[in-house]
Structure formats: structure tokens, C-alpha cells
Subunit: 205 residues, 4 copies
DNA sequence: CATGAATGAGCGTTCATTCAT
DNA sequence: GATGAATGAACGCTCATTCAT
């Protein structure tokens, strides 16, 4: 009735920006386990420890709420990639860091992987999908650039860098799929070296 | 007040199995563009050219209808994989055929890729997901066996075949993602050789 | 396509218990004239002056709503009987008061007599019926006890009190039936003395 | 698909009048256990061993079907009463026979008692109710006449015969209620003498 | 600002009725 | 005549959204 504390780091009586964040955090947590359509505004409100009506003070509709969530998550991971780029040197280090970072992201967001990043979004999911696609495109482009660097460094043979980046992107996603959907047992981030090995040397004898 | 005249009972009377199929086909077509939750039974009925009530003569609920659809599609592609296995000889031929087949499937089902095969299914999506996971697991296992054959044939170096299969699976899915989500321009099936090359030789100089 | 503007959220905000009551009252009024199955939730909502959805804030299903109604009415009449028992002295006074009370109840609830108290309830009417049966059993048992008192007081000849109570119960119900179903013209409660006379003396010359 | 034998004495390939009867019999049997609204035309068709459409060859609507049933049952019992009247001599014999006949009817139609004869009929139940009321009125009037005879025979003291008949009617119904709704244990028809005794002598010491 | 009771459009499902076979 | 697949109007219930408090 007055002060509720529930879920992920939400506190009543904070600055409005924090309230907004706690709502998004609540939505994110619930989205780990349920569809957009199976999540009720009520659920988010309870998880965030606010009243249903309060959600509408921060987001005009349910849909916009989830779009905001997708956007913020996208920005966060994009920033992480940028930061990795800046902190690493070209070639193996940079690429392995990017691989590791992606594996880590999916490890931490198994549920979201099935929801936000696989299209479980409202009908005009194209809004959501575009964001998601842009993100995928961004990491592919970034890895393509890193691969070009690798070619210059004579690490890789000359290649169509975009396609090669797509290949690497898929390699990573393959392990994510296998891990999350099929319960093939391994720690996702532990696969960095294996992925790197296959990517570098292939399977040939 | 309580009893009203209903039903016009004017219709076409096709073969019953055909009717079931046409309903599933209608659902599949609509699913190319929309979510499970954004598809109304009405939509399916109209698309299939039947009345809403008719759907319920063939499927007890909306959910079961889509589960049937997922099941049938899964069976179809699984049979295709089996048939490929039987018609090809071990090693390169068999693996390239499996790669090609997967690329072709996604090329023909771009929309579904985003829906049925990526989890856009009802709340108990776990039913759907399990099916999907089983399918993924099946193709990975099949490719793992083919890779073991390849190792015996001295085509590949010794390896943990399951992980290597996951890598190949990912390689394929990477191109699918890139093509479908990011509009990276290429004919999906044209990438068979490139995928095979990367898988075999890696990117190393 | 998937998300539309809904809800107008304009209303009155009475006390919550009052709202629940007014819904039950609306249901009771409509039930005077119509079957459970011929009453639509919409009807009740309109009669109660609330929106359809509001009904579901107070009762989880249509069926539960009517069960609540039956329960409340049963409790009310049972309490009345208890209160009569306490306020009257054994013998004629007590029994005549019980007779009068039953006649009065049916006089005031002619329509319900045909509905709630005669089994016009949902499929699992057994729930409803059990309640009703319990109520009937309760009044029969109560009258049986009063008759035993009467035997002790030498008012009645020795008898199987339960069967005699059933006879008295039937005598009362006979007038109710005749009045309500056949429009035999008399004021129901005016028959108290006649019923008492027949019960006491029989029809014999 | 071709010849089905189900339920109460129904045979395919009979005269149309027999088909009509078997449908009504099926409806009657089902009505013993279920409400008008909980009975589907399909149920009746299966029970009668005919196709759903066939019902509509004999009855224009579901409602008319049940009205026909009510009418036929009413006629049957009315004829029984008439026949009793004709076969018995005035006074005790005639009245006890009427009492016995009513108890027997309810004993044989416990389920219907809860359905047809207590108002579980469609919205315009007034059609049904009128029939039922007429029937009740008929037996009351008949008993009133018998009571008048009894007065002439000096069996009964002078009285308002209609009201006295209502009392007797109620006495009978009381035992029916108690037996069917409350499981008070006795064979219904065994109560004839007790009812007669109470009706004649009352409960007085 | 925050609340949560109230709203009502919308959808899944049922089943009396029809009519091509 | 008999059949039963097909029909579609109708209704119970949900839940995003609103706004009086």
C-alpha cells in the first residue's frame, strides 16, 4: 500500500529517472521467462514495485515500454563493443575479445535471447527487429573491420571480409543456440578458444 | 431472447484431409508475417476460405493448431535430412548436401524462420521450443555423425565431433541470420561453397 | 494492428463492498425473470450500472457469481430461522413462526423460487443443489426439533418427528407451488393459520 | 456410419413415428441428468442413434423438441390420473390411488423432477411452465373434486376443497422433495399411508 | 505525482442450424 | 429421407489503458 520493495534493485521514492530504470529492469527480468504477449502490465508493475498506472507516467504504451527496453539494451551492448575496440589492439586480441563479449552477453541473457533478440515482440516487431538487425549488422561490420585488419596483419588470407565476418558471427551464434536451446553442456565463454581455433584453422586434417 | 436462428450452412465440401491441410497452409502463410498472438482465428479462417467454426473441427484450440503446424514442418524437414543422408555418400558430399538443404529451407521460409523456428509461439512455448530444440539437436547430431565419418576418411583432423558440428551449424545459421535479418545480399544457397571452405580451411593465411 | 487504444476509465467509485452487493442485487433481480443460461454477464453489468469487466473484479466467473448469490441468500434465510428459534417459545408459537417465515420468504422471492431454489443453476449445479438441499434439510431438521418439543408438550401425538416435519415442510411448499405456479389467489402468508389447522387436525370429519 | 444401436430402445429403419419417439426418449433420458442448456443436439442425436440433421426433420428447433417432450409427458401422466379416476371409487380409494400415482411418477423420474418439472427449461420457459402449471393445476383440481366427494361421504369435514387439495398436493411434494433433494431414506411409494394418515388426522395428540 | 478500480474493445470458443451429398 | 461437415452469431473472459482520488 505504501512502500514496497520487490525484485531487482527497485526502491520507491527515488528520482524519476531511477523509477524509469527500475521499470525497465522489471520488464527485462520478466522478459527472461515470458513472451511480450504473455507479460501483463500488472506483472511489470508488481515486479517494479509500483502501481499499474505509474507505468504510464513513464511509457505511453506497453509497446513503447518494450521498445525502450530493447533500445537501451542495444545501446549498452553497442557501447561495450566500442569500448572493447578501443581497449584492444588489432588482430587476434581484438577479435577474441569481441567473441568473448558476445558469448558473455548471451550467457547473461539466456532468456532474453529467446525473447527480445529472437523476435518475440509485438506485431510491428519490425521496429524491434530493425533495432535488433542493426545491432547484428553493427557487430558484423565491426568484426569485418577487425578481420580486414587481420588480413593486413597477415593473420588471415585475403577474403571478402563481410562474408567472413558473417561466418564468425554464425560460429558464435551456433554455440549460443546449441547451449541455450539444446542444453549442450559447456560454459559459453569457455568456447572462445575453440571458436577461434575453428575460425582460424577450419576442420581440415 | 435465448434461442436465435443461426448457421447458414452453405459451403464447398472438399476432401477432409485437404481441408486440414489448407488450414495449416493458411496458418503457415500468415505466420510468415505475423506473431502467434497477432494472428486471429478469423484471419486463418478467411485465408483458408472457411468459417471460423470450421477450424475447430480440425484443431481443438488455436494453440494446438500451431503446434500441429510446427510438428508437420519439423517432420518434413527431418525427413528431408534423412533422405539426404541415405542418398549421399559419406564425407564432403553428405555434409555439403546437409548444408545446402538447410540453406534452402530457410530461403523458402524466411518468415517462418522468425516465427515458428525462433520461438514465437504460445505461452507454453516450451512445447514448441522442445520440438524446435529437438530438431536443432537432430541436425547437429546428424552432422556430428557425418563429421566423424569425415574424420575416418581423413578429411578432417580428429576432433570433438559434437562441438565441431555445433560450429558448422552456427556457420550455416550465421548466413541465414545475416541474410534474413540484415539483408546482406546474396542467394542463401549460393553460400554453400563458401561455408564449406571456411569450415574446412578456416580463415588463416 | 496488434495494439489498440482501449479503456475509457470513467466511473463512479463507490465503496467496494457496496459494489459487490449491487452486482449481486442486479443478478438476483434478473434471476427473478430469467435462467442462469439466459442471463448474460452484460445484462448483469448493465443492471448493476457497471462495465462488464468490473464484474470480474468481484467474481472470477459467471458461475461463481451465481454461487455467491445462492450462498448469501441461503445464509440470510438460515439466520432468519435461527433468530426465530431464539425469539419464540416452544410449541405452537415457534412452529407457526417458522411456517410464516417460509411463506414470507417465497412471497418475496417468487422468481428466485423458480430459479436459484429450484435448480436453475450451471452444469455443476450439484454445488448449488447441495447448498439448496442443505438448506431444505436444515429447515426440516429445525421443524423436526420443534415438533419433538410439541410432542413433549403434549401438543402432538408421538410420531417419527423427521417424517412429520417433512409433511409440514410439504404442506408449506404446496401452498407456495400453488400460489406461484398456478396463480391460485391468496396472500401466501395469510395461509399460516390454514396450514397450521390442517397440520394439527387433518381433514377428517 | 450406417446402423447404430444406442440407448433406450431405439432402432434404425423404423416407421417415422417411431423415430420421433426414440428421439424424444433420448431427450428424456439425457434430461434426467442434465439441464436443457447443457444438452447439445449432438448428444440427443447420438443417444437416439441418428444424425444431428435428422432431429430437424422431426422438430424444427431444440426448443420445440423439448416442448414436445414436456407435452407428451404431461399427457401421459394426465391420462394416468384420468384412468385412476375412472377405475376407483370415490373417497379414500380414489385419493390414495392419486397419491400413490404421484409418488410413483416422481420415483421413476427423479432426474426429470429436477429438470423439466422444476423449470430447467429454455428462456421462454413460460411455455414449458404453463404446461407444468396446468398439470399441477389439473391434479390439484382433480384432488379437490375427490375431496369434495369425501366431504359428501362424511369422510372429511366441510372445507374449502381447493385449499385442502393444495395442502394434500404439498404433503405429497414434501416427501418428494425430501427424498430426492435431501436423501431422506424411504421408498417414496411406501409413504402413501403415512401421508394419508397425516392428511386425515393431522399431528394433534 | 502515484494509485488501482473501472472500463470496454476484442478474441477464442461453442453449438444450433443448414444443406450438399 | 438421412447425413454430418460447415457455418457464423453470440458470449464469457482478458487486459491495456484511463482518471478520480
Amino acid at each position: 500500500m505504501s512502500i514496497k520493495k520487490k525484485g531487482s534493485g527497485c526502491f520507491s521514492r527515488r528520482a524519476p529517472e531511477e523509477r524509469r530504470s527500475s521499470i525497465l529492469a522489471a520488464a527485462r527480468d520478466i522478459l527472461q521467462a515470458r513472451n511480450f504477449h504473455d507479460i501483463k502490465m500488472e506483472n511489470i508493475a508488481v515486479q517494479a514495485g509500483v502501481a499499474k498506472g505509474t507505468l504510464y507516467l513513464y511509457f505511453p504504451t506497453k509497446e513503447k515500454l518494450f521498445q525502450s527496453l530493447a533500445k537501451e539494451m542495444g545501446q549498452k551492448i553497442f557501447q561495450e563493443w566500442q569500448s572493447i575496440w578501443e581497449k584492444t589492439s588489432p588482430g587476434e586480441e581484438r577479435l577474441k575479445a569481441l567473441i568473448f563479449s558476445q558469448l558473455k552477453f548471451f550467457d547473461e541473457n539466456k532468456g532474453l535471447f529467446l525473447q527480445v533478440f529472437q523476435g518475440n515482440l509485438p506485431a510491428n516487431a519490425m521496429g524491434g527487429l530493425k533495432k535488433k538487425s542493426e545491432l547484428i549488422r553493427a557487430v558484423i561490420d565491426m568484426m569485418a573491420k577487425a578481420i580486414e585488419e587481420g588480413v593486413h596483419l597477415q593473420l588471415f588470407r585475403p577474403c571478402e571480409s563481410l562474408h567472413t565476418a558473417v561466418a564468425l558471427f554464425g560460429l558464435i551464434r551456433g554455440f549460443v543456440f546449441a547451449r541455450i536451446l539444446c542444453d549442450i553442456p559447456y560454459q559459453l565463454t569457455d568456447q572462445t578458444d575453440f571458436i577461434w581455433d575453428v575460425f582460424l584453422n577450419g576442420a581440415k586434417k
